[in-house]
């Protein structure tokens, strides 16, 4: 597993902690991690982004991939993202399918 990603999965809820830079260099490792969730009956996918400094289109693609391949019905949350990161999500329209919020209770 890449050093800037950690993932836990319990009771249909997968929590993914992102940190550092999610770019063309680091995105493939995240995609490999998320592939493990395919077919696991995930109801909620929660990205914790408090320590995420930067996201590029490669990172956005992995999040879209997750939504499309893991479960179309799963709710996706993006928690604690910094303003610069959230603005990139909004520019790309990812805020239309996932809930961007400061904290997550679950």
């Amino acid at each position: 597993m890449a050093e800037n990603i950690s993932m836990t999965c319990a009771g249909g809820c997968a929590k993914v902690v992102l940190s550092g830079r999610l770019d063309a260099l680091s995105a493939p490792a995240l995609q490999e991690e998320l592939k493990k969730l395919i077919g696991q009956n995930i109801e909620a996918l929660v990205f914790y982004a408090n320590d995420l400094e930067y996201i590029s289109s490669a990172g956005l693609r992995v999040i879209i991939f997750a939504k499309q391949k893991i479960s179309a019905e799963a709710k996706v949350y993006f928690i604690g993202g910094r303003e610069a990161v959230v603005s990139v999500l909004k520019m790309s329209g990812l805020d239309t399918f996932m809930s961007i919020q400061p904290t997550y209770n679950g």
Binding site: L25, S57, A58, I64, K67, Q68, M91, T96, M98
Partner: protein, 136 residues
């Protein structure tokens, strides 16, 4: 006007991006805008190192010059296969995620961030010019 040229590989991405950002900093952009310019440059350069030279080696150049109206013009060029990034279809960011095509997001971000983007094929080079103006 400043210019650097490096092999078109991922290992050189940071050097090329840092060069563009140093130029932008000199033009007086704030930290937030520099972050956006970094993203635009990275998207454009990742495209070049990923697709410009299929099966062979080549170089990519970054040239910076001040924009007349105040700001910066960052020109990214290569001698790879002719490719106009602006010819890519604009992604429909309003589509529900299940129907979203994975692709075209990088160029979409570049268009959103920069004030002007132009592509030209000149003397066997792809020249992609990104302009960011200083906010008055």
């Amino acid at each position: 006007m400043e210019r650097i040229e490096r092999p078109a590989t991922r290992e050189h991405l940071e050097t090329l991006i840092d060069f563009a950002l140093r130029c932008a900093e000199t033009e007086g952009f704030d930290k937030e805008t520099l972050g956006q310019i970094r993203l635009a440059c990275e998207e454009a350069l990742v495209n070049v190192v990923s697709y410009a030279y299929p099966g062979k080696e080549g170089t990519v150049a970054v040239r910076c010059s001040p924009a007349l109206a105040g700001g910066i013009i960052i020109e990214i060029s290569d001698q790879g296969i002719p490719f106009d990034p602006l010819s890519l279809p604009v992604p429909d960011t309003a589509l529900p995620m299940e129907k979203r095509k994975i692709g075209g997001l990088g160029i979409h971000l570049i268009r959103r961030i920069m004030d002007d983007v132009r592509y030209q094929r000149v003397d066997g080079r792809n020249v992609f010019a990104l302009t960011k103006l200083l906010k008055k």
